[in-house]
């Protein structure tokens, strides 16, 4: 073996991304099929209870209204779950060291985890969409808007998951993050209703919920109707993504909780 055969400089990014994709794909029954099933159960139950009784947007039946919200909720929750669970598992089992020892840059590290989260989010979202189409077919007025929010929203939640994974020291911390932040924020974001149906105070509070903008913007892609302008939502979601990404790359650079 020749000494110092390491002059060829390649990047570890591709492999880290591949490993992150393989990680959830190898257990896709848990990571893709299960969340699709959950979303379909929501659709069945809520549309059974509310179909014909509620009309959120004129001319759009409640089941059709529900579909984009459920798709986006699945996208966001699974993007979060992917990066957070991958990182905390590696931390707890100690095999994160395999990623910390190689010359992978902070941005590459960030990118690989977040892109894998986006792919998982979109895979689950697409699964939910395909299955719900069996029940009703919603219109798709502005698909590019929908795609933009799906990608940006899952990127944002992948970044939030990455932050949670960096910060957490045990699985309980991730569960707490999920139960006390992600779950309430998604449920109160307008997945199941339009915020215009809420009392004024709650309407105001909802506007501080980033999930609201992600769901509302995504829904605009289907119906061309939304509670706030899609440009506003795009600015909020995009701005949050950029700000959080910069903060996380800085944390990675400082070795916060990963390199003690």
């Amino acid at each position: 073996m020749s000494r110092a055969a390491t002059s060829e400089v390649g990047s570890g990014f591709r492999t880290l991304l591949y490993k992150e994709l393989l990680r959830f794909w190898k257990v896709s029954a848990q990571t893709v099929t299960a969340p699709v099933l959950t979303a379909v159960l929501y659709l069945l139950i809520f549309s059974h209870a509310l179909q014909g009784r509620v009309e959120v947007y004129p001319g759009i039946n409640y089941t059709a209204f529900l579909i984009p919200g459920l798709v986006m909720m699945s996208v966001l929750q699974n993007a979060f779950a992917n990066s957070s669970s991958s990182l905390i598992q590696s931390k707890i089992t100690g095999n994160l060291v395999f990623v910390l020892l190689p010359p992978i840059s902070h941005i590459e590290f960030f990118g690989a985890y977040v892109i894998a989260a986006v792919v998982r989010g979109l895979a689950v979202g697409l699964g939910v969409l395909l299955v719900t189409l069996l029940f009703t077919v919603p219109p798709v007025v502005a698909p590019l808007w929908g795609l933009a929010f799906a990608v940006l929203g899952s990127g944002l939640m992948g970044a939030v998951g990455l932050f949670a994974g960096i910060w957490a020291e045990k699985f309980d911390h991730i569960a707490a993050f999920q139960n006390f932040f992600i779950l309430p924020a998604t449920f109160l974001s307008g997945v199941f209703y339009s915020i215009h149906s809420l009392p004024p105070t709650w309407q105001v509070i909802s506007r501080f919920n980033p999930f609201f903008y992600m769901i509302d913007g995504f829904r605009y892609g289907f119906f061309g109707v939304s509670d706030v302008s899609p440009w506003v939502s795009l600015a909020v979601v995009g701005g949050s993504f950029v700000a959080l990404s910069l903060a996380i790359v800085e944390l990675l650079k400082r070795g916060y909780k990963l390199r003690h």
């Binding site: 055969a5 400089v9 880290l16 060291v97 020892l101 390199r259």
Partner: protein, 304 residues
């Protein structure tokens, strides 16, 4: 001169614990270097700082001339670390693990070298077994293989033989010695001092986060004050002589000698008492004796 590893005034504190209190250390290229010390001496902390897994509070560390913080990509490219903890990724087989590890270093087409490493470490027949299903010893081999995928010029092994059977130890040391002959610098921590004595050309001893001894192995062995005399006689030793010499399990006594001249001061009273000597042996100190002496804080002095 470019060192394989150069640590300058490295300090690290964890809360109230001073893990490293200003460590200076330079390992030359091609050395087989031992880092010894009791548990909690700071060996793993120092290795973690070299590997970039931990940040020093003060001081700096370079690997092959590259700063481990400022030039971390080049420093890490030149370094292979076998961590002490037996960690593995349960999602992958041995070959997948090694391919992925190669990829992390930007090496895509590394199959031939992966095969060679697996062969040398006795992993070839486990190549397609999931790492989760391997025994502890086999997992240890995978960790060693992972540290070597990118052919690092500097290889650090943190207690690679802890809880490992004789066969793996021999396989491992043969392979590591070969890498050292090929020019790789090896840094080793171990609690098996006979391993360090036979393998390492130079040794640093850490205690309480400080380097308390640093020298060529041969010099360290010479530095130990004196030797030992094992003596067993028929009947009882004169009380004055037996005093201060620990009694051994077999009924003999162990005398510490400041120098070989002291042999006479033990034998003269024995002769005077007319005792018959059953066993007599002069023992030169091994690394363990040196270690105990250094750790107990006794001044190290040249043996006369």
């Amino acid at each position: 001169m470019k060192y394989a590893i150069e640590a300058t005034a490295v300090q690290k504190r964890f809360g109230s614990l001073q893990a490293l209190g200003g460590v200076d250390l330079a390992v030359e290229e091609g050395e087989f270097f031992g880092l010894l010390g009791p548990n909690g001496a700071g060996k793993t902390t120092l290795i973690s700082i070299i590997a970039g897994l931990t940040r020093a509070d003060a001081g700096r560390v370079k690997v092959m001339g590259y700063d481990v913080v400022g030039d971390y990509r080049l420093a890490r490219r030149n370094l292979g670390v076998v961590p002490q903890e037996l960690v593995f990724d349960p999602f992958f087989t041995v070959r997948e693990t090694l391919r992925i590890q190669s990829g992390y270093f930007g090496l895509r087409d590394n199959g031939a070298w992966i095969d060679e490493v697996m062969e040398s470490l006795g992993l070839a027949d486990k190549a397609d077994v999931n790492t989760r299903a391997l025994s502890g010893g086999m997992k240890r081999r995978v960790l060693v293989a992972q540290a070597l995928v990118h052919k690092p010029p500097v290889i650090v092994l943190d207690e690679p033989t802890a809880g490992v059977d004789v066969e793996l130890r021999q396989t491992l040391w043969q392979f590591i010695a070969r890498l050292n002959r090929d020019g790789h610098t090896i840094v080793l921590t171990t609690h098996y001092l006979e391993e360090a004595e036979s393998l390492c050309n130079r040794i640093a001893m850490l205690k309480g986060g400080k380097v308390v001894a640093l020298d060529k192995t041969a010099n360290l062995l010479k530095r130990h004050a004196g030797a030992f005399l094992h003596l067993k006689v028929k009947g009882e030793l004169p009380a004055a002589l037996a005093q201060g010499a620990p009694r051994e399990a077999g009924g003999g006594y162990r005398f510490q000698l400041a120098s070989y001249d002291d042999v006479e001061s033990v034998l003269a009273p024995v002769r005077a008492a007319g005792l018959h000597i059953e066993e007599l042996q002069v023992l030169t100190p091994d690394l363990e004796d040196v270690f105990v002496q250094v750790m107990s804080g006794a001044p190290a002095q040249e043996r006369t």
